[in-house]
């Protein structure tokens, strides 16, 4: 009896080993990317670029690959750090090769499969084409695609990784971009305490619940709306033009009414993505809320929602209300996402 059991176990183990080794060699399993219940519909078309395990792993390796920059020092992950919600920790304006400064604050890499346009000004309409912007920007990675492809073709590992992901070892720009997209569309943050609360898995504290109520009462959710906490429109929230005349959305549409407008940012993981706003001018959330209550400038394109009947601007809030709103914003921090080993730099 014992011996037969032992034999059966050995058989099972052997079979498993065979399956596993075969799996490593030939099979490239699909990774399912699904829409969390309270999210808007997915915009990225997975049919044109189905996510596979090997494609994802290649995308991840490329995301952390310094060779995508001119001098080998700046990877995507350099400016998009996991612990900072995939933003450039502590930098108002991101800097790239030779420490050259960019003009905008890094955006988080999260939930991008659900976005229509990319960047603060929405100038890019297809996630697949986004990486070309940092790669060719002289103040970011300062490299050209033909050079990168040459470097990767000579690399000891990449030809094999491209083969696993796409069937042949050929390294093309299209494949590189699609692999990066496979990695990025998988990066979904939908397991914050707020999400768990919506799913009935946890309770929020009384302060946090008051904060959520105020967030709605004060009209924050007009713009920071829905599951992504952004309606993906372009608006002006009254940031002073004294230090920075970035015209934002106007650069893309050349429409006067779009001057100084920027895409409403998501507030997911906002606790760790400081500093804030397109130029990172505010160090902390307290400063952001002080801006909303007192700091707004009268700019011709200021959003009508901020214009009050008494002729003043902004959203009146007491210190206590601000504290409560911030307590709520912190429930949007997704520890699972921020520590998910699948998204961190490969060993």
């Amino acid at each position: 009896m014992k011996r037969t059991a032992f034999f059966a176990l050995a058989c099972v183990l052997l079979a498993a080993a065979v399956v596993v080794s075969c799996g490593q060699r030939d099979v490239n399993p699909m990774i399912e990317v699904s829409t969390p219940p309270h999210f808007p519909p997915m915009i990225y078309d997975l049919n044109k670029n189905p996510v596979t395990q090997a494609g994802f792993e290649l995308g991840r390796a490329l995301f952390y690959e310094g060779q995508l920059s001119r001098d080998g020092t700046v990877s995507c992950g350099f400016c998009h750090q996991q612990s900072a919600g995939f933003t450039h920790h502590g930098h108002d304006l991101s800097h790239g090769v030779d420490d050259r400064l960019g003009k905008r604050n890094a955006l988080p890499i999260q939930n991008l499969a659900f976005y229509r346009d990319f960047m603060w000004d929405g100038g890019i309409h297809d996630l697949d084409l986004q990486p070309l912007a940092p790669i060719e920007n002289p103040v970011e990675m300062d490299e050209s695609m033909p050079n990168i492809l040459e470097k990767l073709r000579k690399h000891p590992h990449y030809p094999r990784m491209f083969e696993r992901a796409f069937g042949t070892p050929e390294i093309t720009g299209e494949r590189l971009l699609k692999a990066l997209s496979q990695f990025m569309v998988t990066m979904i943050s939908a397991n914050s305490r707020y999400d768990q609360y919506l799913r009935g898995e946890t309770q929020l504290t009384a302060d946090e619940l008051r904060g959520l109520q105020l967030f709605k009462q004060k009209g924050c959710d007009h713009c920071h709306s829905g599951g992504l906490f952004t309606d993906q429109t372009y608006r002006n929230n009254g940031l002073s033009l004294a230090f920075n005349q970035d015209v934002g959305r106007y650069e893309i549409t050349l429409n006067e009414q779009d001057k100084y407008k920027f895409r409403v940012p998501s507030l997911r993981n906002v606790e760790v993505t400081r500093p804030y706003m397109h130029d990172g001018r505010f160090r902390n959330l307290e400063m952001v809320l002080d801006h909303y209550s007192e700091g707004m400038e009268d700019i011709p394109t200021l959003d009508p929602l901020f214009k009050r009947t008494d002729g003043k601007r902004g959203i009146p809030m007491t210190a206590e209300e601000k504290r409560l709103i911030i307590a709520f914003l912190k429930t949007l921090t997704d520890e699972t996402f921020l520590h998910d080993k699948r998204f961190s730099e490969p060993e």
Binding site: K48, M119, G122, G123, I124, H125, D126, D128, L129, L132, A133, I135, E136, N137, S144, M145, P146, L149, T172, G173, E174, L176, L177, K178, E251, I252, T253, L254, N255
Partner: protein
Amino acid sequence: MKLHFRFLHIIFLSGFTILTACKNEVEPEFNPSARGRLLLEFDNVVGTRDLELNRGVYRNAAGEEFSVSQLQYYVSNIRLRKTDGSEYVVPQDSSYFLVQEHKPETHIIRLSVPQGDYAGVSFILGVDSLRSTMDISRRQGVLNPTDMSREEGMYWTWNSGYIFLRMEGTSPQIAPDPSGNRRFRYHIGGFGGGFGTPPVRTINNIKTITLSFGRDIAKVRNNSTPQMHIIGDVLKVFNGSTTISLAQNPTVMFSPFSVNVANNYANMFEYHHMHTIVGR
């Protein structure tokens, strides 16, 4: 192509045509379902002079001297008009070409077309809006944004759009930049993308150029390949409905002013003459 050669060419060719005309009094029959070749040759000039990169010094209508260091433009969505009024549309996937002045092999666009008699051509100077928003897998060859060096790039990465015409050079009338160069850079694009609902359109600099072959008939046959010689006059980029001063506009890229440049260059092309190559 040098201008003084053109004369010899014409003399030589007319002699040639007379000879061939004498040989075959009757038009050779052709099979409209068989294919042949038709070539479009783009010859860039500056007014009455040949365009010589870096060396030539020219003068625009604003009275400014200038030299050209780079000229490149897309020619796409080619249609050929037959003498009977019908049209042959070159299949879209194989209808994108990049003419680069510094690469003579790009000056001649080789088309495979049904045999027949052609009286004119039209094309887009630039890239149509549909292609400008297609998946990366549908942007091959000269449209592949991952296959462009920075110096010759024809794609705005930050604005997801193609540059239709790129011309750079110098002019002594331009104030020096911080590195002491008196450069001009014209990168003209803008496919009229729509934003918002209802969509507000951005500038649309897509220009359709229509040229008639005049009294010439491009006869595409089994053993006859017409080569249509088209002149692109750089002067017209500056001289047109708007007289453009390089000193005042050394850099024109994605901006409202670019519309003036595009309106000017919409008139820079002219059909000049035809050669017929025997064979395909």
